[in-house]
């Protein structure tokens, strides 16, 4: 969530939303999150949903690396905000309900179990449609890659625009 907040903050102030380091950080967080979900039997059934979300997020951050602050559009902010809501209100909530089901204790355990179970099932059944909607939103503002963007990114082509931009900035700063 912090990384999404940071990106959102940069977009709001028309700063470069992501660098290669941001993408590396996103992939690390994604890997950690997936490993944690896989490490607990009670959470493992959420893996596919978490995986779908983090892979969408990684694709979006990858595309943001090629965008500098002057190219930021309102649609980019909207897309990131939608992803943040999706994570908090659907993906993470699904995991939280699984945790509840596993850990609920006390006299109201049965009620909590029924409530969490119903909510988790609802979130699962609506997940595919929600995911598709978020993908369409991101795609409509150019935040999802073409197939050959993956190879271009691996070869460092996305960094060049940012590097060139930074050289201009650095040059201006040094002349000042």
């Amino acid at each position: 969530m912090k990384l999404i907040d940071d990106i959102e903050g940069a977009l709001n102030f028309n700063r470069n939303p992501a660098r290669r380091e941001t993408y590396d950080e996103a992939t690390e967080i994604a890997k950690d999150l997936k490993k944690q979900v896989l490490s607990a039997d009670s959470l493992e059934e959420n893996y596919e949903y978490v995986n779908d979300f983090v892979q969408l997020f990684e694709d979006v951050v990858m595309m943001l690396v090629g965008i500098d602050g002057s190219e930021v559009e309102n649609g980019h902010q909207t897309a990131i905000s939608e992803l943040e809501d999706f994570y908090r209100d659907e993906v993470w909530l699904m995991v939280a309900h699984s945790l509840s089901l596993e850990t609920a204790k006390g006299p109201n355990r049965g009620d909590i179990y029924d409530w969490s179970s119903a909510n988790r099932d609802n979130l699962k059944s609506s997940f595919a449609d929600s995911l598709k909607t978020k993908k369409e939103i991101c795609d409509s503002v150019g935040l999802l890659p073409d197939i050959d963007d993956y190879e271009r990114f691996e070869q460092g082509e996305f960094d060049e625009a940012v590097d060139e931009f930074m050289q201009v900035v650095d040059g201006r700063v040094s002349r000042e």
Binding site: A30, K31, E136, S140, D146, E154
Partner: protein, 233 residues
């Protein structure tokens, strides 16, 4: 002459049986779509799918086959991901690998073997999975998808049996579905990179289609053969 084919678009460039006659529409085999998603050629698949002006179609067999391949390979990627020692990895017995899957897997393992760290290996596996997902979305799922899937109206059981010389069952269905599509389409182009089953036998396939359908023929091309003949490309 075909009774059902209406040549309303495109430009006829040759009377030879294996030159494309109409460039406005094409029907894809799975092999071309895989090449596009995995970047397994020199851009020919992308050149036709994305950059050429033709309308893109495929059939239910290809869409199902692409989905099946994606699911199988995702399982392979997960299995490799979970393995600490790549030299000891072998495909789980629960995955029914095709020869193409085995080739893809061997190439991937070779590539992973060159990578320095566990992190790099995990990142590479992750990227491969994302490519498949994005490929499926781009081809079939999202707004602005690259291909329309047509459903067979009149799949010809007789034709299916008469092309039994094509070894692969999915390929036989792709030929029948593309012939079915061609009957109600402006064009008759099936695009594939499958040399053994389809390209090498295309004259024989076309002859059998000609005898069995109300269709002049079915033309089978590789992406580069098709685009190189287009005078407007």
């Amino acid at each position: 002459m075909s009774l059902c084919r209406l040549l309303t678009g495109g430009s006829r460039v040759s009377s030879s049986s294996y030159d494309p006659s109409v460039f406005s529409e094409v029907f894809y085999d799975t092999s071309v779509l895989l090449n596009y998603v995995l970047g397994q050629d020199d851009g020919e698949s992308k050149g036709l799918l994305k950059d050429h002006s033709s309308d893109n179609y495929t059939g239910s067999t290809v869409e199902r086959e692409f989905n099946d391949i994606k699911e199988r390979r995702e399982k392979v990627l997960k299995s490799i991901y979970a393995c600490d020692d790549l030299s000891s990895w072998s495909p789980p017995s629960t995955i029914d690998m095709s020869p193409n899957d085995e080739g893809w897997c061997a190439d991937l393992l070779h590539e992973l073997d060159q990578l320095g760290s566990r992190d790099d290996i995990e990142d590479r596996l992750e990227l491969e999975e994302r490519k498949f997902k994005r490929g499926l979305d781009t081809l079939f799922e999202m707004n602005g998808k690259l291909i329309d899937t047509v459903w067979p109206n009149n799949l010809d059981a007789m034709l299916l049996s008469r092309i039994s010389f094509i070894k692969n069952n999915n390929d036989r269905h792709v030929v029948c579905e593309s012939a079915d599509w061609a009957c109600s389409s402006e064009a008759d182009n099936l695009i594939t990179t499958d040399e053994n089953d389809l390209l090498d036998q295309r004259q024989r396939i076309s002859d059998v289609v000609d005898q069995n359908r109300d269709l002049e023929t079915l033309h089978i091309f590789s992406p580069s053969e098709f685009t190189s003949q287009d005078p407007d490309a």
